[in-house]
Amino acid sequence: MTNIVSYEERIKSFNWEIAEQELNYQTGQVINIGWYCSDRICHLGKADKPGLIWEGSSGIEKRYTYNDIRLKSNTIAQFLQDLGIRPEERVCLFMDKIPELYIGFLGILKTGAIAQPLFSAFGDESLFIRLDNARTTAIITQKKHAPKVRKILGKMPYLKHLILVDAEPGKPLGEREVALNMDEAENVEHFQCFPTKAESPSVLHYTSGTTGQPKGVKHVHYSLISQYLTSKWVLDLREEDIYWCTADPGWVTGTSYGIIGAFSNGVTQCVLDAGFSAESWYRFIEKHRISMWYSAPTAIRSLMKAGEEVIRKYDLSSLRHLASVGEPLNSEAVIWSERVFGRPFLDTYWQTETGSIMISNYPGMKIKPGSMGKPFPGITATVIHPETYQPYDEPGRIGLIALKPGWPSMMRAYWNNEETYRKKFRNGWYLPGDRSSIDSEGYFWFVGRDDDVINTGGHLVSPFEVESALLEHPAVAESAVVSKPDFVNMEVVKAFVTLKPGFFPSSDLDLDIMNFVRKKLSPLAMPQEIEFIDNLPKTRSGKIMRRILHAKEWGEEIGDTSTLEND
């Protein structure tokens, strides 16, 4: 029997108190995610149970029991407190998927400070924008990523500490640098967790929009309620499960389900900190007997591309339940997984701002391949008219996905950006910015984004950010960035560029611009294709018409061009 038992029955009698009671939480009491994910599991008699099994790219393996996680998160919390880190200060985690990232996250939360995870492949510009916006006090990183921090340190007087988790003993440290070796530090047996309450801030994740700078999405400790229950009912996490969430905690899936959901449910989770290859992933599943696998369509399509021959080399019979997140899961991938793994990947839909799964396919429910599924119990979701913001009455109409605010893990603010936050709400609905329809049986069907944000491999990239970076290249006069279709990543970044006088299109210049953006922003934001053109399509008022370039890439109708300059 599945944890959710019956979706239809759960819908009828749902109340978030179900999760509160299971977690023994009562309104007004202290709720600290760091404590719930480590100390509480030990109190439940699972101190010796493996909580985290980590494997690095060189094959090194490290294992941490829940008691280890408790002690080491205490140790990191104490270290931060001794440095003078105070509640609600922002502490950035800028690391590969190493144990210090997972355990450090809990340590930060135990102090009452806000964890600010950032993707370790970010370039110095992307890093600076996010640290500057949050006025981050400390950053925990590895020596391999420290040069990017040092490069911008001079612009960040508020950043008091650069904490290196792998500093070489005896090697002098630089300005504001301190060393913390988690595995070698003396364990702190008792740490008094800061008495955070439901609305105390916990996590600050950054996400990109069409215009403006990335937005800091503020979550609170009460988000645990949603993350715990969705992990239990959607991911169907069980006591005996060996769980693998492939997401990087630099992004929200990696924290909501790669840390909080997994540890609050007390399961054993495995982490592979290595680049992707079909062989290494299948070997990892076989070796650790993974039973629940939460991954992304990009990875699934990459596995499809690698073929079925390689699958037959491994024993994947431990797999019991599969789920996917990050972008729409195409029906071919669902059917493929059912054929090769004996079970389908179940699509889940949510985003950074929602903090937890909103719409999903559930274990035991009838699956319609290609559908997003149905709203999680307790979530009121519908599709509304894009102008009147009124819900459609009849099935099949395409409109904006709308969610009734009020679930525990809903973001509480965009950091220092009240105006943009308010714009996300219309007529009493929260609008995630996606379009879909609902069929006659209540299943949601994803159509696309309602803005120009590019979803590449499940990560959102702002065209504005890429265009701004392109303009800093000495050869670029103007730029326009759109998505183009891609089998593996669904979409990738494509840039249209006009050159300054004296510069001419060439394959070397093309490569130079690609690398320029990659280092400044991130590999995700690097245009996978650059097209040099003489003029960008603009309105008569001079605004670049991305819509026309987008339509060209996707083979769509260009639509109304009455405002096009020189038309």
Binding site: S57, F276, G457, N515
Partner: protein, 80 residues
């Protein structure tokens, strides 16, 4: 071939390595997390520009790009 190995190795170090990580001809680049799948596109472009070749997309796999040795082997297939 040795010259090609050094050219590619030095390029990888210059473009993708932030610290003093040592790169040898058989260091795992993709599975080792030094070059990610998105950055592979720029590495492929470099190889195509440098050696005046065209590597088909379906041959530019993570496995084929996983070390300097393997990349040299791949490039060798397309050199005239």
């Amino acid at each position: 071939m040795d010259e090609m190995k050094d050219v590619i190795k030095n390029y990888v170090i210059k473009e993708y390595v932030e610290d003093d990580t040592e790169i040898t001809y058989d260091t795992p680049l993709i599975s080792g997390g030094i070059v990610d799948s998105f950055s592979m596109v720029s590495l492929k472009r470099f190889l195509e520009n440098k050696y005046k070749i065209a590597i088909p997309d379906d041959k530019a796999t993570p496995e084929a790009f996983d070390s300097v040795d393997k990349i040299c082997q791949l490039v060798g297939n397309y050199l005239k």
